[in-house]
């Protein structure tokens, strides 16, 4: 994204709209810090510029990765899903993605609203890989890995920045303590934040097998979350 300096009238209306706070006044012109801009397109779509000074650019690889991860209107070529991740638990009633005894563990790097460089995505992915998780094959971050067994990402994207990027994995309930320990260590080594999600099929009584190990690890579950209500068809039947 860029602002045409010839058109800008220095009204400053656009400044608060940037989720990364990457727009500032340089003299009499609003300017975008291109290194901090994640190409999310909010400033452009907001339509607040009275003189249409915003110019949405199409970028070549590797900068193109910024819009792919930050602009929710972009559909990833590989996953065919808009946004940053996969359908995960949302369609597991028909896909059977999360089977009994397994959980999805997702670290959404940069969320909420801080942003992330891919070198930090790599640090956390590598920490998870060491604990033997299986990365979701249809996730956009997985597509950026040169080695899925180590979590190593393509070197040319490491300094690129995104609004957020989801590392999605599946592992066994028994492996939760090891993954949590690795994530605690990795969290201390990064310059951003991440939200952590556990996805699981629920037992008949509504409980989840992951609750006990998480309690033991002093990891609290928030009071609110997402529930797939099982209306998808054909319903996935898990073999016993």
């Amino acid at each position: 994204m860029k602002i045409d300096p010839e058109l800008c009238i220095a009204c400053e209306a656009c400044l608060p709209y940037c989720p990364m706070a990457a727009i500032s006044m340089k003299g009499d012109v609003a300017t975008i810090d291109v290194d901090e801009c994640v190409e999310c397109g909010v400033c452009f779509r907001a339509g607040v510029c009275p003189v249409d000074a915003f110019v949405e650019e199409v970028h070549e690889w590797p900068r193109s990765v910024r819009a792919a991860f930050s602009n929710p209107l972009t559909v990833h070529k590989e996953t065919r899903v808009p946004g940053r991740g996969t359908e995960e638990a949302k369609t597991t009633d028909v896909t059977g993605r999360f089977k009994r005894g397994f959980v999805g563990i997702t670290a959404e790097m940069g969320r909420p609203g801080v942003g992330v460089r891919f070198y930090d995505v790599e640090k956390v992915a590598q920490a998870m890989a060491k604990m033997g998780v299986e990365f979701a094959h249809d996730n956009p971050v997985t597509f950026l890995m040169v080695d899925k067994s180590t979590g190593k990402l393509k070197s040319e994207i490491l300094n690129e920045k995104a609004c957020s990027a989801m590392i999605e994995s599946i592992t066994t309930v028994e492996n939760i303590p090891a993954v949590i320990k690795a994530l605690r260590e990795a969290a201390a080594q990064i310059e951003t934040v991440f939200t952590l999600t556990i996805s699981t099929k629920l037992e008949a009584d509504g409980s989840a097998l992951c609750e006990k190990p998480l309690k033991k690890l002093n990891v609290p579950l928030y009071l609110n979350g997402k529930v797939n209500v099982g209306l998808g068809r054909p319903l996935f039947k898990e073999e016993s």
Binding site: R84, G85, E88, A89, T92, T197, S199, T200, G225
Partner: protein
């Protein structure tokens, strides 16, 4: 894609925040899915949602409700402020038998009560384990309560601060300020009614 998870807030405030989404599974039942998602939005709009949206177009604060319903594709969303609405929509969806996956976000025990009323059962859950890492880089909790209602983080913390200033100055009502924030969240999962209450409380300090 956990965009309706990780909404922050108190129990009281989150009791007025329910997001429903409907989508097909790519490669399983996505053929001919658009009319089914359109039907979902038609059902949802019967119960007075505070927002609806479809990722391919936007939400009811950037387009008319009719335009959003017509453009239903890929993933659609509706936001409600009470359990009665959610239970009623679920009952209608059960009867409509669309075959699409439906997800409800909210306080777990309250969502469970809605499911019971509709004669449905939970299948899978996404639990939030919170925010990890350099949390000192986050804005205040009260700002986060508003910004996390857009899971793609398209509602800027600075824009919320700006709106609170305007409410304080009397140049905008909380409701009008919420209408400035809502269009930024293209999916339509932002809850403007809750945002208005939260910003009014911030401005009153």
């Amino acid at each position: 894609m956990t965009h309706t998870l990780h909404r922050r807030g108190t129990r009281e405030s989150l009791s007025e925040d329910y997001v429903m989404l409907c989508l097909p599974a790519v490669g399983v039942n996505n053929e001919g899915h658009a009319p089914k998602l359109k039907k979902f939005l038609e059902i949802a709009t019967k119960y007075d949602p505070v927002n609806i949206g479809t990722i391919k177009l936007g939400n009811m604060y950037s387009h008319s409700k009719e335009e959003v319903v017509k453009a239903a594709e890929a993933v659609v969303h509706a936001v409600f402020v009470n359990q009665g609405q959610v239970a009623d929509v679920l009952k209608d969806l059960e009867k409509a038998d669309l075959g699409m996956s439906v997800v409800v976000s909210g306080i777990f025990e309250k969502v469970d009560e809605c499911l019971k009323k509709a004669g449905l059962k939970h299948h899978t859950a996404n639990f939030s384990l919170g925010i990890w890492g350099k949390t000192e880089r986050l804005p205040s909790n009260e700002i986060l309560e508003v910004t996390t209602m857009c899971g793609h983080a398209m509602v800027a913390a600075n824009l919320v601060r700006e709106m609170v200033k305007e409410i304080k100055a009397g140049t905008k009502t909380p409701e009008d300020a919420a209408k400035v924030l809502a269009p930024q969240c293209a999916c339509g999962i932002f809850n403007p009614a809750r945002a208005a209450k939260l910003m009014a409380a911030m401005a009153a300090k």
